[in-house]
């Protein structure tokens, strides 16, 4: 451009200042808080060491279970003639619409001492502990890895396989020579993402862990129960390590440049046996993923399981009466706020970093994806320590802010990729035709981003509905989001109420997803 307008520089500086205040400074505040604590004493403590070991075990076992499973499911959906692919994909991503803590309580309702399936199948009811955590975490993270793999496999180029077939290279050799190198990058990304999500989650281990405590649970108990912010900060700093590693792995992977240009779509040969096996696997996993939801239904609408199994709306009414209704409104307000504000800021930031190139733009890009490297609990504690004395503390606004930052990176990257694909000369053409930059953004660029913006809104909304991590330290009796009622009800042994809340969150998210889907199809039709 000619002289870069002063306004664009001011905008970028303002955004940089915003991210510094909303991401970096709170984090630095938490790290600085460790000064007041005997770090070595915390790290050397028996409870810490045990929790650390448990977290590692949970992380490694879950990764070992969920990565092959997710890959197998993605392969079934993209590489076989499986019928109803869309339905399977929706089913496998269903767990992403409920809080991680619901996976834990779902398993307890199913397999716990008095569980539905425990009684039905005469099981031991021995779900509490490490294996329970691993199953719950696997249900929580497998859908995420599934989506990553399905996306990658959809865009794999068939040409190398054709060449291999012409050369008569055996199938196994094709897999090691073509498929594995192609999968290396997405595999690294998926492994780090899954490991880091598992290690930093406290929802599942809190409900189902029993005596097995992981680091996030320890941190949660120290901060919520004992108000020991110093010890919480130390554990938070430790939890940063896997998340930062995952972030760096992803960053180096991404920078090398993904090749998403499809030269030739995959040709899937006819094979009835393979299709049958794929269908069986998908059905088995799909049913297992649906089980917790079914269990919530059973528990919510039965008078007093397992003694009185008649239908009732009493549990729902009870949950709503005990603040469920008020907190649901809180959650909807927070999620809508995060969605609207998040899309707005992510759009402006992505535009600046893709189409107003400068050193400041690169810094802005890096800062806006940094939040990916901060686990929700750590971000929450950082916010408590940084904003404690500010007017924001204890308001709904801080919950909106913390969720927006927590889920910013993914939405931002969606928009970043979309903006990057537009012709670089659009704004220049506009200027020569008498249309300002803003005019071209409004008339040409934004209309073509509506689908991505809706997708970003949906991501912000759904995740704000289900999150219990960043908000757990910041919410008070007035601002509490509804998902936080799940651990509360569980602690009070109102399992049927907590089940109803999980269902409620699922329904809200399904409605938003369906609305976004309809709007996107309408836009696609319009763009025809």
């Amino acid at each position: 451009m000619r002289k870069r307008p002063v306004s664009s520089t001011i905008l970028k500086l303002a955004l940089l200042a915003f991210f510094a205040a909303a991401v970096l400074l709170p984090l630095l505040r938490m790290l600085a808080y460790m000064r007041n604590t005997d770090v070595l004493k915390v790290l050397g403590g028996a409870a810490f060491r045990k929790a650390c070991l448990n977290s590692l075990k949970v992380g490694l076992l879950t990764t070992a279970v969920s990565i092959p499973l997710a890959y197998a499911l993605a392969w079934c959906v993209t590489r076989t003639h499986l019928r109803l692919r869309g339905l399977w994909s929706v089913l496998f991503s269903l767990p992403m619409l409920i809080p991680s803590i619901s996976q834990g309580s779902g398993l307890i309702i199913l397999f716990g001492a008095n569980g539905v399936l425990t009684r039905l199948l005469h099981l031991g009811g021995n779900i509490y502990g490490l294996h329970g955590i691993v199953i719950g975490e696997a249900m929580y993270v497998t859908p995420i890895a599934f989506l990553m793999f399905a996306d990658v496999l959809t865009y794999e180029d068939y040409t190398p396989y054709e060449a291999a077939q012409v050369l008569g290279i055996p199938r196994l050799r094709q897999f090691t020579a073509v498929t594995l190198p192609f999968l290396r990058r997405p595999l690294i990304s998926a492994v780090f993402t899954v490991f880091s999500l598992t290690v930093t989650d406290y929802g599942v281990p809190l409900t189902i862990g029993g005596k097995v405590k992981t680091l996030p649970v320890l941190m949660y108990e120290d901060v919520i129960g004992l108000l020991d912010f110093g010890k919480g900060s130390v554990i938070g700093a430790v939890l940063l390590i896997p998340a930062v590693l995952a972030f760096l792995a992803d960053l180096s992977n991404r920078d090398a440049g993904g090749n998403s240009f499809v030269a030739r779509p995959f040709v899937i040969r006819q094979n009835k046996t393979r299709d049958g096996l794929a269908c069986a696997l998908c059905a088995a996993v799909g049913i297992f993923m649906l089980l917790p939801v079914a269990a919530f239904g059973v528990l919510s609408f039965m008078t007093n399981y397992p003694i009185d199994m008649s239908f009732t709306l009493g549990n729902a009414a009870k949950a709503l009466r005990m603040n469920g209704g008020t907190y649901l409104v809180n959650s909807l307000l927070i999620s809508a706020g995060v969605g609207i504000l998040g899309v707005l800021i992510a759009t402006v930031t992505a535009y600046c970093s893709t189409r107003l190139l400068s050193p400041a733009a690169r810094l802005l890009h890096l800062l806006s994806i940094t939040s990916m490297a901060i686990p929700g609990l750590v971000l929450g504690l950082s916010y408590v320590l940084f904003f404690k004395t500010s007017f924001l503390y204890g308001t709904m606004a801080i919950l909106i802010l913390v969720n927006m930052i927590h889920f910013f990176a993914s939405s931002y990257l969606m928009l970043y990729n979309t903006f990057g694909k537009f012709n670089e000369h659009l704004e220049a053409v506009g200027l020569t035709l008498g249309a300002s930059r803003l005019r071209i953004v409004w008339d040409v660029i934004l209309p073509q981003c509506r689908g991505t913006m809706l997708e970003a809104f949906s991501y912000f909304f759904v995740n704000s509905m289900i999150t219990i991590s960043a908000v757990s330290f910041l919410a008070n009796a007035d601002t509490k989001p509804v998902a936080l009622l799940i651990p509360q009800y569980e602690a009070q042994s109102f399992l049927e109420c907590s089940a109803f809340i999980s269902l409620l969150i699922l329904c809200c998210n399904l409605l938003v997803k369906a609305a976004v889907h309809l709007l996107k199809s309408a836009i696609a039709r319009q763009d025809g």
């Binding site: 012709n423 220049a428 053409v429 020569t432 035709l433 008498g434 249309a435 008339d443 763009d527 025809g528």
Partner: protein
């Protein structure tokens, strides 16, 4: 008076001198090609002429008036880019009409002007299509029609053919020359294709590393190359093409 004149233009990016104090003039109705390898500064000249980039030094005049500080829209010039830069969300007709919205006196006649231009470039039947449904050549015609809508007397082309196949290039070459004659426009055309430059231009400016080696008619470049660089860059390439062509003719029965 010349249509456009450039005096002592310079541009530096960090350590790299992109334009090293260059001067040249373009006459009204002339077709000037700027020829040179990538990174020689030709696109930088175009962006400065259009007002999309500010020079570090030098003056750009149009019809004698200093326009160095004018905004792109005030210059009465149009530009056609390599990858068309069409508005994908608008129909072909809306693309051509778009600029007219910002000009009060033309706003009322927008659809009439667009219809005339679309008939002129042979795209009237495709007016309700989105650019994504058109071929590369058709998209470039839309871009040309969009530029013509404001009736600029100078049109700049930034390697407009490099994404097109040979047949389309030949057809579009003719079309651009026809338009130039019809509208009497002055055209500045950037390319790294010697053959294209020789086929279309009244004069050719040969550039390398931010400097001008020679400006002259195609004949002058052939008969009287200013230096070794011009001989090598311009003539050797053409010679190779000519030789391979003659060999082809000899071999053919």
């Amino acid at each position: 008076m010349s249509k456009l004149s450039v005096e002592d233009l310079s541009k530096v990016y960090g350590q790299k001198t992109v334009l090293d104090h260059i001067s040249f003039e373009v006459q009204a109705g002339e077709f000037l090609s700027i020829l040179g390898p990538s990174g020689c500064g030709k696109t930088t000249i175009l962006r400065i002429l259009m007002g999309l980039l500010e020079p570090d030094g030098g003056v750009v005049r149009k019809d004698g008036r200093d326009i160095t500080a004018c905004s792109p829209a005030e210059r009465g010039m149009g530009i056609v880019f390599q990858n068309y830069a069409l508005f994908e969300n608008m129909t072909v007709q809306k693309n051509v009409e778009y600029a007219l919205r910002f000009h009060k006196e033309l706003r009322g006649k927008a659809s009439e002007i667009a219809a005339g231009l679309l008939r002129r470039v042979g795209l009237w039947e495709l007016r309700d299509k989105k650019p994504g449904k058109l071929s590369g050549g058709q998209q470039q015609r839309v871009a040309i029609a969009r530029t013509l809508a404001l009736n600029p007397d100078v049109i700049l082309f930034d390697e407009p053919m490099s994404a097109l196949d040979v047949d389309t290039r030949l057809a579009l070459r003719r079309e651009i020359k026809d338009i130039q004659r019809e509208y009497g426009s002055t055209m500045i055309y950037i390319t790294h294709d010697q053959e294209e430059a020789f086929a279309m231009s009244d004069r050719i400016m040969v550039m390398e590393a931010g400097r001008i080696h020679q400006i002259g008619t195609p004949e002058e470049l052939v008969t009287d190359p200013a230096d070794d660089y011009v001989r090598r860059f311009v003539l050797e390439n053409l010679q190779i093409k000519a030789e391979s062509l003659s060999r082809f003719i000899q071999v053919a029965p």
